[in-house]
């Protein structure tokens, strides 16, 4: 039983360790910028973009109530070779009055290599489509990940069976 428990733990660790590997997707940074912009001053969008860039998307954003943007959509971006390791990310926002902005965010990596800053807004281009326009999603699970999910399901079954085997069925206590 102890060997089985160790084998199960090793299998769990093998499956979970790759899940700890992180990344820094530029699309996610653009999305966080737009989400924080939508929260008004409390969202502190200056963490992701200078005030002048934020004003282009939501003029006078500091004085607006949270939830001014009714739609925020970000698509798969494209990195380009530069010393900053930048990326172009398509996005679309629609405010509560129906005004739509469809554009591309130009993002540059921070000097320390972590995260990034949106430095400029450019017009939308045909090569970068949003998911609602038939473009690719920001990220999709690989076939290996789907297989891993099925394996985790099997692992949970084995773990449950192992736990249940520790609780043996015992007869009710005899009458006094």
């Amino acid at each position: 039983m102890r060997r089985l428990a160790v084998a199960v733990l090793v299998a769990v660790a093998t499956l979970l360790l790759p899940a700890c590997a992180g990344t820094d997707r530029p699309e996610g940074i653009v999305e966080r910028w737009l989400t924080s912009l939508n929260q008004g001053a409390a969202g502190r969008p200056s963490r992701y973009a200078p005030d002048s860039v934020s004003q282009e998307i939501l003029p006078n954003w500091r004085n607006l109530d949270p939830g001014e943007l009714d739609v925020i959509e970000v698509g798969k971006g494209r990195t380009f070779i530069s010393k900053e390791g930048g990326a172009r990310v398509p996005f679309r926002v629609v405010d509560t009055s129906g005004r739509e902005v469809r554009a591309t965010a130009l993002l540059e990596r921070n000097p320390d290599g972590t995260g990034g800053t949106i430095v400029r807004i450019e017009p939308a281009t045909a090569d970068l489509l949003l998911p609602s326009e038939g473009g690719p999603r920001i990220e999709t699970a690989t076939p290996a990940m789907w297989l891993a999910a099925a394996s985790v399901a099997l692992l949970f079954v084995l773990l449950s069976a192992a736990l249940m085997s520790l609780v043996s069925r015992r007869p009710r206590p005899a009458k006094a």
């Binding site: 997707r25 949270p66 009714d70 609602s132 399901a153 949970f156 079954v157």
Partner: protein, 422 residues
């Protein structure tokens, strides 16, 4: 007239209305804080970080509810139900009067303690007061009210309760309505027949009616663990889906906030039918076949839901996912009460719900968020992370149900109690 004569079909209908009203407001109170939180922060002053702390403190109340709900085996079902209704009504009133965030967090923490216990005792009362052939139907009705209570918050917001002079406080004033239930319940409600019979039996004096660990005695622990694990895995997947669907629809599908809200309300009403159908199926085919069918449905539609990119297709699949995912609560409510004798039933239910289910409700949404984070998550997509989580979690619930959970359709609670005290 003896008490047995008072338990007529008419009395049971009135009892069902009383319990349904209690679970309706439990669903209402569970949902209302997150709904008005933005307004609260503006009015009382606060940041998102403070809101996160409030959420964490309030969530801890569900853990403490475990100890309170277990008291139903000691002080009786009727008394505890009335205490919990008074408790969460008073907590709601204190919330409406909140002068600052600390007060509000403390009042909502208390509300959560009473709400968690109220749900557990309501389910126990249904199981003990309704004949075996009607038990599933009654469980389906009482549990479905929880979802409708949550939707009621959205309806009040739609008609503009927040725009009245009371603003967000008005939502908590509405939560005072359950006091009417107390007025009715105190006069007409009886202690459950099974509880009274067991307490009146001299042989039951040898049984432990107070220890929280009684449910882990050798003769019960196998069922408690099996039902607890099943509840944990089911709730982890369902809570994650409920928590992340709106975010997925808005951020990954491009739906507007207003459209996703409308979808959720419409699907919630249609999905509530899932509880009622579950109750019928439980009585007709048994608890285990009904649960397996619901889990297969939740696996298929829960996985598909988070792969949909079309807003038109989203609504019917959302309805079916809620139908199967949330509707299965009717079965888990039966699993956590019916296999256990009356003297320990509430404590066993408390373990299954408050200990295991609350854990699942914390772990599920957290794991999906970590895996699907758009910046740092290894999967990078909430939709895919949720679909993969469904695939990983739902099969084990079917395995546990088929292999370890006893079938209790038509179960004779009287015989079960006699076996224990004999």
């Amino acid at each position: 007239m003896s008490e047995a004569d008072l338990r007529t079909p008419r009395y049971r209908r009135r009892l069902l209305v009383l319990l349904s009203s209690a679970t309706f407001f439990e669903g209402y109170d569970n949902f209302v804080l997150s709904f008005v939180l933005a307004l609260v922060l503006v009015d009382l002053g606060g940041t998102e970080a403070e809101a996160g702390w409030i959420r964490a403190v309030v969530g801890l109340g569900a853990v403490l509810a475990f100890a309170l709900s277990a008291q139903a085996d000691r002080i009786g079902r009727k008394r505890l139900l009335l205490i919990t209704i008074v408790g969460y009504t008073a907590s709601g009133a204190l919330t409406a009067l909140s002068p600052n965030l600390t007060w509000l967090a403390a009042a909502q923490f208390c509300a959560q303690v009473f709400l968690g216990a109220e749900w557990a005792v309501a389910v126990t009362i249904v199981v003990e007061e309704f004949p075996a052939r009607e038990r599933g139907r009654a469980l389906g009705i009482v549990t479905s009210m929880n979802t409708l209570g949550g939707i009621f918050v959205g309806i009040l917001a739609f008609v503009g309760l927040q725009n009245t002079p009371l603003t967000w406080r008005g939502f908590f004033v509405v939560g005072l309505i359950p006091l009417v239930l107390i007025a009715i319940g105190r006069r007409t409600m009886l202690e459950t027949e099974r509880y009274e019979a067991v307490r009146a039996d001299p042989a039951s004096e040898a049984l432990d009616h107070t220890s929280l660990w009684e449910a882990w005695r050798p003769e019960y622990r196998r069922t408690v663990l099996a039902v607890g694990l099943l509840t944990f895995f089911r709730h982890a997947a369902v809570a994650a889906a409920a928590f992340w669907w709106a975010y997925y629809a808005q951020a990954e599908v491009g739906m507007s906030v207003s459209l996703s809200g409308l979808y959720l309300a419409a699907a919630g009403v249609l999905g509530a039918v899932g509880f009622l159908v579950a109750g019928r199926l439980m009585d007709r085919f048994g608890r285990r076949p009904a649960f397996v069918a619901y889990m297969l449905g939740a696996l298929v539609f829960g996985t598909w839901l988070f792969q949909i990119r079309s807003a038109a297709l989203m609504l019917p699949v959302l309805c079916l996912a809620i139908f199967f995912g949330l509707g299965s609560v009717a079965m888990t409510s039966a699993f956590s009460t019916e296999p256990f004798p009356t003297y320990v039933r509430s404590r066993a239910a408390a373990w299954c719900r408050n200990a295991f289910e609350v854990g699942g409700g914390i772990v599920g949404p957290l794991v999906v968020g970590l895996l699907g984070d758009h910046v740092t998550g290894p999967i990078g997509s909430i939709g895919d992370a949720m679909s993969l989580t469904s695939i990983a979690l739902f099969p084990v619930t079917i395995f546990l149900c088929l292999r370890y959970v006893p079938e209790t359709r038509g179960g004779d609670l009287v015989a079960l109690d006699r076996e224990v005290v004999a």
